[in-house]
Symmetry: C2
Subunit: 342 residues, 2 copies
């Protein structure tokens, strides 16, 4: 007597209805070329009819893989405009799906920065990770590498000379270079840099784009360089000081948050953004897009970043254990009113 159909159809159900063995059905799905055309057609028809889809858990168990990519998500930092985390996550989800993966989110809570990774890895709940919080001496990357866990980092390993793992990053210096060149084109010569005080390698990188471009154009940078915490208030104060002491006509900022501070000071002083003093931010956050004046901002190509990450991940998981690979992508500049004289 045949089993009661409690839930979803299984491979066996399809096989029975199609009058073939289970293996043939499996082949129809995974190695269609092995079947004779008419058999394939018949099996496919039954699959369609039944709305059959291979059980994930069973396949995972057998294949020793989950088709899941783990991504640790942090709490949104309130009061800042920097992270475009949701844009990146969506890009990653879309790119992963193209490659047959799904994204599993886990929480970055707790003291130990690797706990979440360890648990998922030991339980073979995910095939690989995408690590986003890559800073100097990133403990996750180190741990994952040591444990042989496949992963790709969004962000360069700033410390290692010869990185041991693959990464994809956006060229921050190229971004600020774009911004500075754009301002020079607009006729500015006194272009200030507003960066982060506790300077991360990321902040340093972004700063070099401004500095190098200024140098290239023979423009002075003395007194035009300020560093503050990544807050609107601090940026506003720093902008005020800069305006008083160095009279810049343009600001390149390490973040949209800082740019907002500059705009605040301009507003207080009745200085028109764009016409009187130009401002450029970094990240093309929603704030930059929605701010009434329209904040010009460096935009990271997160869609491309995601595609590259998934590509590397696929080759990693595909067994092609190639050399660690680093990909550096160029950002673009979203030009808006805050940097236009018109």
């Amino acid at each position: 007597m045949s089993k009661v159909q409690t839930g979803h159809p299984t491979l066996a159900d399809v096989a029975r209805l199609a009058g073939v063995s289970r293996q043939t059905v499996s082949n129809a799905l995974n190695n269609p070329d092995l079947l004779r055309a008419d058999t394939l057609e018949r099996v496919r028809q039954v699959i369609e009819e039944l709305g059959y889809s291979p059980n994930r858990a069973a396949r995972n168990l057998r294949m020793r893989s989950s088709s899941l990519i783990g991504l640790r998500m942090h709490a949104v930092q309130e009061g800042t405009a920097n992270a475009a985390m949701d844009r990146f996550i969506h890009s990653l989800v879309a790119a992963s799906e193209q490659a047959g993966y799904h994204v599993l989110l886990f929480d970055g809570v707790g003291e130990d920065p690797v706990t979440g990774y360890a648990d998922l890895l030991r339980a073979t709940a995910v095939d690989a990770f995408v690590v986003t919080d890559t800073f100097l001496g990133n403990p996750q990357a180190k741990w994952l590498h040591e444990h042989g866990a496949p992963f790709v980092a969004f962000g360069r390993p700033w410390d290692a000379e010869a990185p041991r793992h693959s990464w994809v990053d956006v060229d921050g210096a190229a971004g600020t270079r774009l911004a500075t060149e754009h301002l020079v084109e607009q006729g500015h010569t006194r272009i200030a840099w507003l960066g982060w005080r506790h300077d991360s390698p990321i902040g340093q990188d972004r700063r070099t784009g401004w500095e190098a471009t200024m140098r290239d154009h023979g423009l002075a940078t003395d007194d035009l360089d300020a560093r503050v915490l990544d807050s609107v208030e601090d940026a506003a104060r720093a902008a005020a000081t800069l305006l008083d002491t160095a009279a810049p006509t343009a600001f390149v900022c390490a973040s949209d948050t800082l740019a907002m501070g500059v705009l605040h000071t301009l507003w207080i002083r009745q200085i028109a953004p764009g016409r009187d003093v130009a401002v450029v931010g970094f990240d093309d956050s929603q704030v930059a897009q929605v701010f009434p004046v329209g904040l010009t901002s460096v935009r990271q190509p997160l869609e491309d970043v995601a595609v590259e990450i998934v590509r590397i991940l696929s080759s990693l998981l595909g067994g092609r254990g190639a050399q660690p690979e680093g990909v550096l992508l160029a950002p673009t500049l979203a030009v808006r009113e805050s940097s236009l004289r018109a």
Copy 2:
């Protein structure tokens, strides 16, 4: 001869080392009370020693469940400040983890709005869904209900009198009521509403909070009601018109995007936000938080929403097939300079 230790330790490994049967190890994990204290201790020690964690796929296959909650993620809408999607997603991830679940993201791409759901469901890749795009006649909710898929909606089913599925939502009317009451307290009497033109039930709901509060205070609403598309530019124009025709001293807006438009008009006219004309937005987006003036905004309790959703989901999956449940949560008001006279 014993098997080669290729990868992770299994239940059998633990059992062998602890000198017990596999079942005993399983019990140590899932039904600790069944074991004698010393046995439990011994098993636990070996588990610790080996860094053992049950294989997810095997457990999933056996339990016919994945401990995964599916969430469809849409592309970020550029140029608006409304969605606090990342805040919600993180809240959901955190709450899920507390309950032993993880969040699986999939993409909302394609013509057919239920494709992604259907695929995951048929493959038993997820145990349940969280549906966020709940609007009138929501096709996903209908489809999921018809297919007996467990899910909870973030958002009320506006059409049904007796909803067939569980939902959690934020009381939009209560939010705009808070906003309006706050403005009345600040001494405003001519408080305008700036809402959406193609009015969704959500927009209508938010509007009623303003209208009812105005009525309660015996304040006129004629000519103080404008509807536009959800864009900064349209909002700016509408605000200008309202200022000319009805001279409001305060604006309650259906979104932060609209509020930005109002602020833009105020800026152009050299009207000080807060001091001269008050503005309140909706969603407490990053824009509201970072905008130099500080935009007062209705804040959805997304953390609580996530907790409630997971609670309902857990009971749904726990077999307690209770009646569909609806939970309406009250938002709060994040008060900032844009609504303060001081």
